[in-house]
Amino acid sequence: MDNEFIIQQLREKFPNDVLKIDTSSDMLMMEIAKSAICDVVLFLKNELNFIYLTSLCGVHYPEQALPLGVVYHLHNLQDNIRLRLKVFLSDDDPHIDTCVEIFSAANWMERETFDFYGIIFDEHPNLIRILNVEYMDYHPMRKEYPLEDSTRTDKDDKFFGR
């Protein structure tokens, strides 16, 4: 099995849902339509042997039309092929289906993504914050919450001897 075969299989099975294919980086990357992500992951797991969910995380591109991204890394342990899937969501409707039924490991990874990016995984059994405090009312990894700039000059640090 190689990347060509995977692309061909997915194109056949999901003709309208594979939005973008990129083979230029370190592994095969595919952008998947939001509605089909669970079916694609399930198909990859059952038919193409991608039985290992390496990681699931969020990304935020504030400039894009669909700014919120979810990145899945899957691993076929038998043929040793890694795969990266991306789904992009809009700010107004950050909903996506959960993969917990397919991979139990997705439970906390999705909670972490919700915690930091505010992406809501529908049907998730327990979608609450995981690392931040419960009463936090924003999602801190989004780009609109910048860390303090270390080069700023308007800060008064005289009490700290600087």
């Binding site: 980086s25 370190d26 592994m27 990357m29 039985i51 290992y52 969910l53 390496t54 990681s55 995380c57 990304v59 935020h60 990145v71 890394h73 342990l77 040793n80 890694r82 990266r84 991979f103 139990s104 490991a105 439970n107 906390w108 990874m109 972490e112 930091f116 327990n126 609450i128 914050r129 995981i130 690392l131 931040n132 405090v133 419960e134 009463y135 009312d137 924003y138 801190p140 990894m141 910048p146 860390l147 700039d149 270390s150």
Partner: protein, 404 residues
């Protein structure tokens, strides 16, 4: 701003009818070795259910990393799995090198293997000796800790630090191994096997220890894969997935070593797998040290590798590079990489998205402990409280890595 109503399920009203009791294990319990909270539902002495709360030492490393030049992210990785900090450091350096597209030399690779395997031994030593402590055998722990001290002395000799090592640089090492380092490693290669023998004599075939650990906290290979287990916990369940063999990095393909496997995925198997891995790591260090090639201990990447101090004071180019590196003025190529290394307790991955700036656009740490700790309730369901403690210590969950 949206207000979220977060609720941790703690006490189920039905539990009162069934006469279940609720027990708080943690957050600061001496037997959890870190800040973990587990709210257990107990039926007499049997655990019916467990709810974990994590995040007590969350420090937002992924967010901080988005503001820092690449070389300043290395100290953050120290604090993930602090029992084997050098693996995290070198894994991060290799990730950046992969993004830059520079190839390392054999000498750097072999030096890295020596440091990483030392770290793996230190990680396994502490984990296995703590399994002993939690089952009531303190003696072995003291033996092993003496030898861990030797490893920390070697770190100190290599990079000057002990726990949060910050070892190496992007592009190699800051200095070559000194003769003292080589001598200390050779000493360890002689001394450690003796201690391991002593330790195994104490525990490996000890009836009490075996009764306490066999069939305790076991998980099947299928469930372990579903939970994305990695490292010794996955191999104890019988799946031979090791990043060092599957996707060799840093010239691991040059070496001949075996990957120990367990059968039942229980506490005893995890213990045995780690014991055998220590021996394999010793073998790796030995062959890397014997075959250590001649050559430079750093690559030719002036944009990232700090020039030696005497050159900074005497050469204009070196001074410029020094200034640019320290101020973090250098842009990196645009791209995305995922790089995984076999950490002390599993596949440690770095997913790095770069938009060409001086800092990562997004950096995600794939922390093995965070991912497999979610299986803990499933593994302890139906067992007694003392078994839960042993299961937890045998999983080698490190709070720093869990909370990132």
């Amino acid at each position: 701003m949206q207000q979220f109503e977060a609720e941790h399920k703690i006490i189920n009203p039905e539990d009162f009818e069934k006469n279940f009791s609720t027990l708080n294990l943690g957050p600061t319990h001496p037997a959890t070795h870190g800040i973990f909270q587990n709210i257990l539902t107990m039926n007499g002495e049997t655990i019916e259910d467990a709810v974990q709360t994590i995040g007590y030492i969350h420090r937002a490393f992924e967010k901080i990393a988005e503001r820092r030049p690449f070389y300043q992210i290395t100290p953050l990785t120290d604090r993930l799995n602090y029992c084997s900090a050098p693996i995290n450091n070198l894994g991060w350096h290799m990730t950046v090198e992969k993004l830059l597209g520079v190839a390392s030399t054999k000498r750097i690779d072999y030096m890295r293997i020596i440091v990483m395997e030392l770290a793996r031994i230190a990680d396994h030593l502490i984990c296995n000796s703590v399994i002993g402590v939690d089952s009531g055998a303190l003696t072995g722990f003291v033996y092993m800790f003496e030898k861990r001290e030797m490893i920390y002395d070697i770190y100190e000799e290599i990079c000057g630090a002990r726990l949060t090592s910050n070892v190496g640089r992007i592009g190699g090492f800051e200095r070559d191994f000194s003769p003292t380092v080589i001598q200390k490693i050779r000493e360890l290669l002689v001394e450690l096997p003796k201690t391991i023998n002593q330790f195994e004599n104490l525990l490996m075939r000890n009836r009490i220890f075996m009764d306490r650990t066999i069939n305790v906290g076991s998980i099947s290979a299928e469930r372990a894969l579903n939970y994305s287990f990695s490292g010794p916990c996955l191999r104890a369940a019988g799946v031979d997935y090791d990043v060092r063999v599957m996707n060799p990095y840093s010239s691991y393909e040059d070496f001949d070593f075996t990957i120990p496997l367990g059968i039942n995925g229980d506490t005893y198997d995890r213990f045995c797998v780690r014991q055998e891995e220590i021996k394999q790591s010793l073998h790796l260090i030995k062959s890397a040290l014997e075959n250590l090639p001649e050559g430079d201990y750093h690559m030719d990447v002036p944009e990232f590798y700090l020039p030696p101090k005497e050159k900074v004071y005497s050469e204009m180019e070196s001074l410029i590079w020094h200034f640019k590196i320290v101020m973090g003025e250098i842009n990196v190529p645009v791209g995305e990489v995922y790089h995984a290394v076999e950490g002390g307790n599993g596949e440690l991955g770095f997913y790095l998205v770069s938009d060409g700036g001086r800092t990562p656009f997004r950096l995600h740490f794939r922390r093995p402990g965070f991912i497999y700790y979610q299986a803990f309730p499933e593994m302890i369901k139906g067992s007694v409280l003392s078994d839960a403690i042993l299961t937890m210590s045998s999983m080698n969950v490190i709070a720093g890595e869990l909370d990132a």
